[in-house]
Subunit: 203 residues, 2 copies
């Protein structure tokens, strides 16, 4: 039997979401069908509002509904420390863990050895801009513990090579190697932040 | 940090869905933010359309966008067999498994011994209606293998007590095919032992 069209259609769309398979999409659609109509109306509106009202911070690349973002404009954050991450997901995970109160810079990608791809065009310019215009004294390179992350770490370091007053560090490998920051638990993230390795010279 | 309002709002709504926690809601919202706008527009519309265009079949209780539903109006289905299920989820699972081609009747609930609750008002009337108006010769009571399901099974049976020409059956309980004795719980093992199949001759 084909399920009714509106049901199949919603399931098809839900299955595109990360981590959602046929069965869970079906359960979700069914839940929505049984919930009060207000819930679908709110959900529909929230999806539309996400694309309409959210953008990317022009300074740091964070997800935001204003320019600059909450973090860049927060006077209570430590403006001497800059944490460089691959993507917004990583920034969100570190924020959720509550283990860091400096600024961020989102690269928006990694060096990709297999595709022969470099960091996204201009992504290091924005980083250097933040360092030069601000009063950053330490850059923590918080890339993921994978080949791409390591290569990205080295690409960032080499872009900062001339800045000898700048402390450079990376997260320590308390992170499960082969895993990702996004799925790390709070304690692991905290440990990785605490035991970050300071980098001297040309490493 | 509080995440931007539109992001938090969507996450809050997504977390109400079955099987969706904080992290997966965040990943979903983030996916939607990064996907082309057409996706959120489609998704929003699909949620609204679900409530607008779907209802419950007036004959059998199935989810449908027409009256009567696909199954009730399908001339190729075996109209002599009626499968009674607790809820639409069960109907959908049996349909997806493709192991049955008769009609259904959805009770829309179970007998609930702890709450002292009976089957939903009038749900047995609809069942008797289907049997009397149709040419049903067998009723399969496919309730879930739990206390509620068993009590519901007995409630259905006693409602059909007068109909002596009608065959009545229930799904067999036993080991899940592909599963193992090692991991089967005690109750399942007991059921599998009690309803063991006697083998005659050379089989
Ligand atoms: Zn920012
Ligand atoms: Zn029907």
């Amino acid at each position: 039997m084909a399920l009714p069209g509106p049901f199949e259609r919603l399931i098809g769309l839900l299955k595109r979401l990360p981590g959602v398979g046929e069965k869970s999409a079906r359960r979700m659609a069914f839940f929505v069908f049984q919930a009060p109509e207000g819930y679908s109306i709110e959900l529909a509106d929230a999806f539309l509002s996400l694309k309409k009202n959210l953008s990317v911070c022009e300074i740091c690349g964070n997800l935001t509904d204003r320019q600059p973002c909450n973090i860049c404009s927060d006077p209570l954050r430590d403006r001497s420390t800059l944490c460089v991450v691959e993507g917004i997901e990583d920034l969100l995970s570190i924020e959720q863990a509550g283990v860091y109160d400096g600024l961020y810079y989102v690269l928006g990608g990694t060096v990709s050895p297999l595709d022969g791809e470099d960091l996204p065009e201009g992504s290091l310019d924005g980083l250097i801009n933040m360092i030069e215009r601000g009063r950053v004294s330490e850059v923590i390179v918080a890339t993921n513990p994978r080949v791409e992350g390591d290569m990205t770490y080295h690409a960032v370091l080499s872009a900062l090579k001339g800045m000898s007053d700048l402390k450079k560090s990376r997260l320590s490998y308390g992170l499960p190697v082969g895993g990702s920051i996004e799925f790390a638990d709070r304690v692991t993230l905290h440990a990785a932040m605490e035991t970050r390795i300071f980098v001297s010279g040309e490493d």
